[in-house]
Amino acid sequence: MLAAILDQSSLFLQQLVNGITLGSIYALIAVGYTMVYGVIQLINFAHGEIYMMGAFLSFSLLSGFFGFGLPFGLAVAVSVLVCALAGILLDVVAYRPLRRAPRLAALITAIGMSIFLQNLALLIWGGQIQSFPQNAIPALLSEPALQLGDVVISWLQVVILSTAIFLMLALHLIVHYTRIGRAMRAISQDKTAASLMGVNVDRVVSYTFAIGSGLGGVAGILVGLYYNAVYPTMGYFAGIKAFAAAVLGGIGSIPGAILGGGILGLAEVFGGGYISSSYSNGIAYAVMILVILVKPTGLFGRHLRDKA
């Protein structure tokens, strides 16, 4: 009897750990969606592909795919930097020319860029699932950090959660206490007024893309390491989940994206663990739909005044 209760409670705790890990990954990706939306009201569907690029770049730099290998820390740093630059490039090439076009044009372009980047990755790396070389990753990451009976928390899970928390705090400080953060908030309130006050809109948008894409790149690397699997369509599924998380939290709101990611991750894991694994995605989306039904702007969404 006692054993059964212990089993049930450790089952619950382990699922909680799994859910929080998954949720913090969704949150990291969702923040990238929400930042771009907050600033230029564009749902950047290619964001999932930036995340995929992050995973592939770190894989390539670690495994010597490009003909040379880098140490772990450097490979991660280079990958994140390239992702940030790719985000800026994405904006300059695909979205900036359409800034004054109807919003639908930019949205369709975003979907087009997503398909383009996915196929580019397919061309470069092929369709098979790639794994990180064992010797290139710090061995510590795969060891358990904490073991309580049947509950295991690996160092990698600790790293994922702490990286997510650290980056969220850093992001909060950037948005609220720096000049560029103030400019972002100004543009999100009123683009025209901000540019009249001397805010360089294009430059601020570039920064937004760089930060959002950098975070997406970090998430890609963490996920690649966590599951030890990197493949071209990984961004598609994660992107849809993260988009749902951003909408759930209220698109445009950074704390909303974090909370939305957490809720979605937990709903998926508990739904899969306690109800049925066939419906784990369905359960996560059902939670999102319920929230939107009750509060159409999402948990932290602002009530936008009608611009028409």
């Binding site: 799994n18 295991v152 690996s154």
Partner: protein
């Protein structure tokens, strides 16, 4: 100018004449995408057989040409590829497809066109029954699932089994066969969880199984997901054994140190074969610099069957079908590197299954086989 154009025209004409002289044998399989490494074996096996036939003078003096149809193991793509082959009047037989879901999607198209096909790898039980035009030189999942349940119980002495199956025709057929035999031999199934091919996170379901303490987890599915699943189970601290069927028979398993001890059923074991197999393995390794997997061996024989059928019956689809259907007893069997192949009234065949294990990054035959 005219001369140049004339030259081009003539050379074009010559090329088309050369093409008309060859006999096309289409081979359909995933050659790109997540299961490309399975398709690699199919391609190599087919090319090696074609090379040998052509070196020996082809079919009645005509060279054969392998035409690859890439369908990514996707039923929609498989239907498109099948339509292309079925509408080509020069095609008398198709070798393929690999995944059962792809084969079942292509099946009605071949049936409609009266085009015989032989799959070297699809094991779903429904295939043979559903069309008189479909043949296979591989065992069925009811046999394979049955075999695995008996092996798990009698050789490994497992008592409690948990199952993770992918939602597709192959894995579900295999799971059902395993479960029904498990009941008969007294193997307890403590739970069955499903997953989709795009799943990468198995932690929630594994955690659930962990608390039930199974002796082993059976994975009817394909290697790309199974390797992730096994690693995640190990990092959750699970010590149980893992086993699967021919869908896990892929080199990706050898790169995963967590997969040590995994055992799978396979229709073909190099060290179980005679002189014919050794010769095949030698030639294969010289040409492709890797060891042949069972997809290569079965496709090699499937192309051999197709060639035998065209040699005897010509390019008439109905006659080719009749020829294959006529290989119906042990005496008339086609002798290949995977043993004797002959078909029952459904076009299915009986083949032996073997067990092999991952040990120190290599596949080795299990010490104890089950006959």
């Amino acid at each position: 100018m005219m001369i140049v154009a004339g030259f081009f025209l003539t050379s074009f004409f010559l090329v088309s004449v050369v093409i008309a002289e060859t006999i096309k044998i289409p081979v359909a399989s995933p050659f790109t995408g997540p299961l490309a490494s399975f398709g690699e074996g199919v391609k190599n096996g087919a090319l090696l057989k074609a090379e040998e036939i052509n070196a020996g003078g082809g079919i009645n003096g005509k060279q054969i040409e392998i035409v690859l149809g890439d369908e990514l193991c996707d039923p929609k793509e498989a239907a498109a590829v099948a339509t292309r082959f079925a509408s080509d009047p020069k095609v008398a037989i198709v070798v393929g497809h690999l995944c059962s879901s792809a084969t079942l999607a292509a099946l009605p198209i071949y049936k409609e066109a009266g085009l015989p096909a032989i799959t070297p790898a699809s094991t779903n039980p429904e295939i043979g029954k559903s069309s008189p035009y479909y043949f296979r030189n591989v065992y069925k999942d009811d046999f394979q699932g049955d075999f695995l349940a008996r092996y798990a119980k009698k050789v490994r002495n497992f008592k409690k089994i948990a199952i993770f199956y992918e939602v597709n025709d192959y894995a579900m057929g295999l799971k059902d066969a395993f479960v029904s035999q498990a009941k008969k031999v007294g193997l307890r199934i403590i739970g069955a969880e499903s997953y989709m091919s795009e799943t990468i996170d198995f932690n929630a379901q594994l955690t659930k199984f962990k608390m039930m303490r199974p002796d082993a987890i059976f994975i009817p599915g394909y290697a790309p997901q199974a390797t992730l699943l096994i690693s995640q189970a190990r990092s959750l601290g699970m010590k149980c054994a893992f086993f699967g069927a021919d869908g896990l028979d892929d080199a990706i398993m050898l790169k995963n140190p967590d997969a040590d001890g995994l055992f799978v059923t396979t229709p073909f074991l190099v060290d179980r074969g005679g002189a014919m197999v050794k010769e095949f393995v030698g030639r294969y390794q010289r040409k492709f610099s890797i060891e042949p997997n069972w997809f290569a061996a079965n496709t090699y024989d499937a192309v051999g069957l197709a060639v035998a059928a065209i040699t005897a019956a010509g390019l008439d689809r109905e006659k080719v079908r009749a020829y294959l259907a006529g290989i119906s007893s042990e005496e008339k069997a086609f002798q290949g590197i995977t043993g004797a192949t002959y078909f029952d009234e459904n076009g299915d065949c009986l083949k032996a299954a073997f067990v092999k294990v991952v040990k120190d990054g290599k596949w080795v035959s299990a010490e104890e086989q089950l006959q």
